[in-house]
Every structure is written in C-alpha cells, then in structure tokens.
C-alpha cells in the first residue's frame, strides 16, 4: 500500500515537473506563431496585433498559470493556428497513432514470443545460431530503413509485390475501417518486426534464466515434455518480466512510430508534433508534449503496479527496494 501511494505521489510530482520543463523549453524558441501567421510581407504592426490578440505579450508566469489551470480542468487550450481545441486535435491524431502502436505491438508479440520459445527449444547449434542472428539483426535495423525496405517490397505502386498502400490514411478515417486498417499494415509491420526482434531476445533470455533455475527440469520430472515445460511453466513464470519489458518497449516504440508516421505520411501524433513545432504553435506543442509525457509516465506507473500484481513475491516484500537486494 505504501508503495502504491508513494508511486502515485511521485506520478503527480513528475507531471508538474514535466509541465514546467516543457513550458520553459518552448519559451526559449526563436520565432513565434504570430509572425508565422502574418507571413512574409506583413508590417510589424500586424505581427504585434496578432501577438496581442493571442495573449503572447503577457508575462510568462501568467501564461503558465493560465495553461496549467486549463490542464487541471482537462482543457488543453486552443491551437492558435488551427483554431481547434488541442484536445480534439490530439484525439484525431491519437486515433491513428494508438491503433498503429497496438497493431505493432501485436505483430511484435506474435513474432517475438513464439520465436523466443522456439529459440529456447531449438536443439541443434545451427538452429540456435540462426535464431540468435535473426534476433540480432532484427533489433539492429533502423526503423526508417526497415520501413523503406518494406515499401520497396510490398507497397502498392512502388513495391516488387504491390499489396498495401504505403502513403497516408484514408480520407474518411475510421469511417472506412477496412481501408484504415489496410493502410496501417505496413507501418505496423515495420514497428512490429523491429520490436519483435528484441522481444524475442528477452523471451529467450527470460526462459533461459528460468531453465537455469531448474524449474523447467522440475516440471519435466513431473512428466511434461520439454516443449510443454517451457511453454507452460516457463512462459508463465517469465510473464511478469515480459510485461515489464513490453511496457518499456511501448515507450521506446514511440521513436520508431514517429519516424514511421512521417515515412508513411500518417497524420498521427508523431508527425503532427513535428509540424506543430515547425509552425511554433506553442499552445498545441506544449499540450501535446505534456500529454505524451503524461501518457508514458502513466504507462510506467501501470507497468510497475502490474508487475507487482503479477509477481506475488514482490507484494509480500515490505519495500520494493528490498527485493532486488
């Protein structure tokens, strides 16, 4: 209980810290949204008028207080440039990014866990080496390059075997679910293969540790075959560790996802953020960065709590810090 409370308090403190850092970082920027809106060939008076109109002339503390107070109410502000509420902006983009992440994760689990198990089960040296090398290479491919190779292989229009659309999201969005999913396949495969490779390595090493501890042998002594022991007992025991890894992978995936969104021209959170930074749409960028950071802090929180729930040994320990020691 003490652990949970402390973890939650920390979560809140971290949110506050992130909000200050994000706000401060964005104010050091050269350039402002008013001059972007006014564009070339506008007199300085016009830029000044726009700045006044958007309240960009107020003291920073007032601007921060205004923004933070909005955050507390769940109001992320209005994008100065697009005139839409940042919440709806993020919602629209998230409706592409999250399915992409989830699909990518599914692909990763479908590839990583079975291959990890297979690698543990493999008897011949050749097979072991093959799995090992595959895992190494898969994890070492730059997301950008992996995506490009898939485009060259499978993209409609350019690929050797033209299967999937490689550019953009259908105009109707999720109103055309078939097309929408279809357009996410190549991006999800790119993300999934790369993450899958590292997941495979983790699965293998987790299973290896468990096998080393003699639990697999014990299960086999109870009459299971090796395969049964590994998939049944081993995987179950490795679960807490894998959940942790997947949770952290989730956070790291966003790097790949940003690149992939840009490459496949998907108007998701990643590509949107890059555009907004370019346009100096401060309100939008700071809220987006804050939301993302908050999201990952939340994932971290959930993983920690889940890890504890899944591993009964941790729950009995008085303090989490005692366990590892």
């Amino acid at each position: 209980m003490r652990f949970i409370v402390r973890r939650l308090l920390l979560f809140v403190a971290a949110l506050f810290g992130v909000s200050v850092v994000v706000f401060a970082a964005l104010r050091i920027l050269p350039g402002d949204v008013a001059s972007v809106m006014a564009g070339l060939n506008s007199p300085a008076s016009r830029v000044e008028a726009l700045r006044e109109q958007f309240g960009l002339n107020r003291p920073l503390v007032v601007q921060y207080a205004d923004w933070a107070e909005g955050l507390l109410r769940g109001d992320f502000g209005t994008s100065i440039l697009t005139g839409r509420s940042v919440t709806s902006l993020i919602a629209a983009r998230a409706s592409i990014t999250f399915p992409l992440i989830v699909l990518g994760l599914l692909v990763a689990i479908m590839i990583g866990v079975p291959l990890g198990v297979a690698a543990t089960l493999a008897r011949s040296d050749a097979a072991r080496t093959a799995f090992h090398v595959a895992g190494l290479i898969g994890g070492a491919i730059p997301a950008l390059w992996g995506g490009l190779l898939l485009i060259l292989l499978f993209a409609r229009g350019t690929g050797l075997i033209g299967l999937f659309p490689s550019q953009g999201f259908p105009l109707d969005g999720w109103a055309a679910p078939g097309q929408a999913v279809w357009s996410l396949i190549l991006p999800a495969l790119t993300v999934g293969i790369i993450v899958g490779a590292s997941l495979m390595r983790y699965t293998r090493s987790a299973l290896g540790d468990i096998a080393g501890s003699g639990r697999i042998d014990m299960a086999m002594a109870c009459g299971m075959t090796r395969a049964q022991a590994v998939t049944g007992v081993g995987l179950r025991l490795a679960m807490p560790q894998l959940v942790s890894v997947i949770g952290l992978t989730f956070a790291e995936m966003i790097t790949g996802v940003m690149v992939i969104e840009n490459l496949f021209a998907l108007p998701g959170i990643g590509s949107g953020l890059v555009t907004d930074v370019g346009n100096r749409d401060l309100i939008a960028v700071q809220s987006e960065l804050f939301m993302l950071a908050a999201f990952f802090l939340l994932v971290g929180l959930i993983v920690d709590l889940l890890h504890r729930a899944l591993d009964p040994r941790l729950a009995t320990a008085a303090d989490a810090t005692e366990v590892i020691a």
Binding site: G39, R46, G83, I151, M224, F264, R280
Partner: protein
C-alpha cells in the same frame, strides 16, 4: 499469453486450479504453436487472396472511390498538392496554400486573373478607370449568390474591402492608397477612390484584398468557408485534406464540371509520387522534377508538364551586413554561382533569372547576361576584397528547411572555389522569419519569393534585404503612379536592371512548377498553379 487465457476459460470446472492449469497447458502446448502457425498461414492466404483480387479491381478503375459508368467523367477527382493550409482563415493567415485552394474555387474576388497573370472579370463584369487614375468603377454581375443562399450585392463587396482595411487583415497594406470604397446597390456598382494613382490596383484586387465575403453570415472562418465560388468546402482536415463539393447555388459561368474534388496534401515527395502511381490521386502539383522520371517515361498513362510561375529563389545578401555590404563580395558571389548546374541538378525545368522580375510580371527583361558564370572574375573580385581560397571569407547562409538541404550543399561547394567558406544553417521557417525577416540578422538568406508584382521589396529600405537605392525608389514610385501599362512596364524594367547591377541578391532561378497527371484528366491549370488553381474545369475520364 494465449495459453493463459485458455486455462482461465475452464478454471471454474475443477477445484484444483493449479493441476487444471497444468493439464490444460499440457494439451495446449502444441496447439498453441499450431495456432500461431495457422495464424501466419491464414494471414499469408488473405494477403495472397487480396493480391489476386487486386487486378480485377484495377481493371475496374483502380481507385475504389472513383465511380465510373462507361467512360463518362468521374464524380470525384483527387488532387495531390504539397503545402497544406493550417486553417481556412484567409483574412488572417498568411501562406499561398490558402490562395491556391480557396480563391476562384470557394471565394471569388471582385476581379480575377488568368493563367498568364492578366486581370479578367469575375464578380465585376466590367470596370472603368478615370483619366487621372484615381477612380475605378466596377459594374457587377446580376443575381449573384453565396453558397448559403444569401444574395451577393454591391454592399457585400464594399463591406469586404472596407473591413479588410479597417481590421488590417492580411495584405491590407497593399490597399493603403485607397481613399474610399462605396457601393451603389441601385446601379449595381462599386466605386473605389484612391488617394494616389496606382497601376497595381486591379492586379491587387485579384488576390486576397479583392475577395468578397458574405456580410450577413457568421461562421468559424478557421474551419469553414462561405463564398460565392463554384465549390464549397465540405470537409477540412488541417494539414491533410480538403474536400470540395460543387456549389449547387453557384451563379456564374465557371460551373463545376466535377461534383467532388478532393485536395490531398502530401508534404512528403515520395508519398506524393506513390499516391499518383497507385491511383490515390489523379493529379500531382507540384512534383519534384527529379522524381518525375517514372511518369515522363510512361507517356501512355501519364502527362508531365512544367508551367510558368512567378517563384523567384532569391538568395539575398544583407546589403548592410558586415561583409556583404562590400559590393565586390556580392558581385563575386553572383559570378561564382553556376545557375545552369543548379537548374540541371533539379531536373532542368526551372528557368534562369537574372533580376528581380520574372517573365509573368510587368517589367520583365532578360537580365541573365549581367552576371554570367565566371569563376576567374569572381576570384579576382574576392582578391580585390582581400580574400582567397587560402584566406577564405566566412559567411553564413540561413534558409528554411522546406527547400531541402541540397541547395545549401551545392552553394557551399560552388562558393568554396572562390574563397568563401559558407556555413549553411538550415532552420525552421519560423526561425528564418524571426532571425532574417524580422531582425535582419543574417549574411545570406535564401527564400522562394513566390509573390507576383512584388518589386516594391526593392524600393523599401526597411525590407529585410536592407537595400536602399534612391533611384530605384524614385523609378518604382513613378511606375506605380503611371497611368498606362506600357509606361509602367518600362519604368519597372529600368529599376529592375539597376537592382540587378547592384547585386543585392542573386536570383538562383525562376522555379517552374511541374505538374503530373494521369491521362484522362483535363482542365487542370499548369501555369501559376501554386497560387492560383481554379478547379471548375477539371474532369477525369478514364
């Protein structure tokens, strides 16, 4: 994961759940594997199946959203453009992306311009100019309506222009010479009175300052648009797409030939090319010349054409800069740049430009002979200024990342030969605006000035060029006050030549926009289509 679920599904059946779990996994072990394998096989089967089905779909037209009936024109044409507007507020937000998609399609101006940059009738069917050039009377068309059903009257026209001036909307300063705008509803005329004669007035009114808005309508201008043009905005997704639907209440002769035009913004060049190849879009404007090769070589299915434009890639030398105030340095740079090579590397569609006025603007004259590529001369000038390859002059080139890194690398390479160590600083456009445009804190800047009739930049010493030449200012003032076009053109040409000789900038080239479309598309404008893109004539027949 899945074995866990399997175990859970049955766990109520026996009391000894751990035994049960083991029993389950014993049976599930191999099956779990089988499941994965079957899953993969099914996935492959689906993929192959869909792939086999594809050719049929292709035979029917490739694009599922294109409804076709026996060779007739399609209901939907999808067009790929590059720069997306961030919102629809054409009165407040800068950027040619808005002019491109809205003017002539959704909003109409008092007057319009054609593909050769000449003024033609629009809301006004004709006009007269008084002898002294101070009074313009516009005769409007009859029975005009906005897309919401409101009548478009002389009142709306006068209100729109007056609002622009009063609220200082975008481009308002280009109407600073206007004294009054008055409507006469009975005669259906609008009269504009000027403080001083201005030979640019009509042309100015073809752009944003002349747009006519509905006085009585209230709507969120950032996400909606109500105008009198042949199209209405049915859907707008910021940075992504705009769906235009034919305006059923359209009053004039530019009636939309295609019911729905979808404009898709493809910032990524590859995305754009792929979209055209796969049939997701039927037209692509612009297409990077270097990427057009697959289409130019496939003339059976595609047409590729470059159009004239007023885009000037202006590499400005800060005339008051520490080193660039030295005319010899500026001239040396102009001699050092190999324009022909720059153009060749970009695919060869662009045109050399020797001065500030492009061929579609009044006062154009071929000035490319003033500073031909001459490395020896450039070196000599640098020597005179005290620099050589051994003792290079350090300069910084600042430009926005939207123009790509290649130009900077090439310029650095070309200038290194004459003893200039060019540091290339590629920044966000907003940073460029702040540092170069607003603060004038730069050595060399590069930007695509795509505006037309923009010679005033050289006559304004406060503009970021820091260029101050009294003779040029005098000539420009005369040109603006001129009452005949010939007189104006002559004065402008004279001023342009002086500017070019002074070398306050180098005009790398006149960017010509290359457009590619699938055969069957017709009526798509090729000239000036990055600022002016009337779509009413566009059709697609396969």
């Amino acid at each position: 994961m899945s074995d866990n679920n399997g175990a859970h599904g049955q766990s109520g059946a026996t009391t000894d759940s751990s035994l049960e779990g083991r029993a389950k996994t014993q049976k599930n072990g191999p099956k779990w594997w089988l499941g994965a394998v079957i899953g993969v096989i099914v996935a492959i089967a689906i993929i192959v199946g869909v792939n086999l089905a594809k050719p049929n779909a292709g035979a029917q037209g490739g694009n599922p959203s294109t409804v076709e009936t026996g060779g007739n024109a399609a209901d939907i044409v999808t067009i790929g453009l590059k720069l997306a507007p961030t919102n629809l507020d054409i009165r407040n937000t800068s950027g040619s992306a808005l002019d491109q998609v809205l003017i002539g399609n959704v909003y109409e101006g008092l007057v319009a311009r054609d593909g050769n940059n000449q003024v033609v009738p629009s809301i006004a069917k004709s006009w007269e100019e008084s002898k002294d050039g101070l009074t313009y009377t516009f005769h409007l068309n009859d029975n005009m309506t906005f897309s919401n059903g409101d009548a478009l009257t002389a009142e709306d026209v006068a209100w729109s222009i007056n609002q622009l001036i009063k609220n200082q909307y975008h481009d308002a300063d280009s109407l600073s010479m206007v004294k009054s705008v008055a409507a006469d509803d009975d005669k259906n005329t609008v009269t504009i009175t000027l403080k001083t004669a201005n030979s640019n007035l009509l042309w100015t009114l073809t752009g944003r300052p002349g747009l006519v808005f509905d006085k009585d309508a209230t709507y969120d201008a950032k996400t909606e648009a109500i105008g009198s043009g042949p199209y209405t905005v049915a859907k707008f997704v910021a940075n992504d797409s705009i769906t235009l639907k034919a305006n059923p209440r359209y009053w004039g002769s530019h009636k939309a030939k295609t019911a729905t035009v979808v404009v898709k913004y493809l910032a990524d060049d590859n995305a754009a090319v792929n979209a055209l190849k796969s049939g997701d879009v039927q037209v692509l404007a612009p297409i990077t010349e270097n990427l057009a090769e697959p289409f130019t070589s496939d003339s059976e299915h595609y047409t590729v054409k470059a159009g004239d434009d007023t885009d000037k890639y202006v590499m400005a030398f800060n005339s008051k800069g520490k080193n660039t105030s030295d005319k010899r340095v500026r001239q040396a740079i102009r001699y050092a740049i190999n324009h022909e090579e720059l153009i060749a590397s970009r695919g060869g569609a662009d045109k050399a430009l020797g001065g500030p006025i492009p061929s579609l603007d009044p006062g154009y004259e071929d000035l490319t002979g003033l500073y031909p590529h001459d490395e020896a001369k450039a070196k000599a000038l640098m020597q005179e200024a005290g620099y050589s390859t051994d003792k290079p002059l350090k300069l910084t080139l600042t430009y926005a990342n939207i123009y790509g890194t290649e130009l900077g690398d090439q310029l650095r390479s070309q200038l290194a030969k004459i003893g200039i160590d060019l540091k290339v600083n590629v920044v966000e456009f907003s940073t460029w605006l702040q540092d170069v445009y607003t603060n004038k804190d730069y050595d060399i800047s590069l930007v695509d000035h795509n505006e037309s009739h923009d010679f005033y930049q050289w006559a304004d010493p406060t503009y970021y060029y820091n260029y101050d030449n009294k003779e040029v200012q005098r000539l420009y003032a005369q040109a603006i006050a001129a009452t005949s076009d010939d007189q104006r053109d002559e004065l402008l040409a004279k001023a342009a030549k002086i500017v070019s000789e002074d070398a306050p900038a180098d005009w790398l080239f006149n960017y010509r926009v290359t457009t590619a479309w699938a055969n069957g598309v017709s009526g798509f404008p090729v000239n000036l289509n990055q600022t002016l893109l009337p779509l009413y004539n566009v059709t697609y027949t396969k």
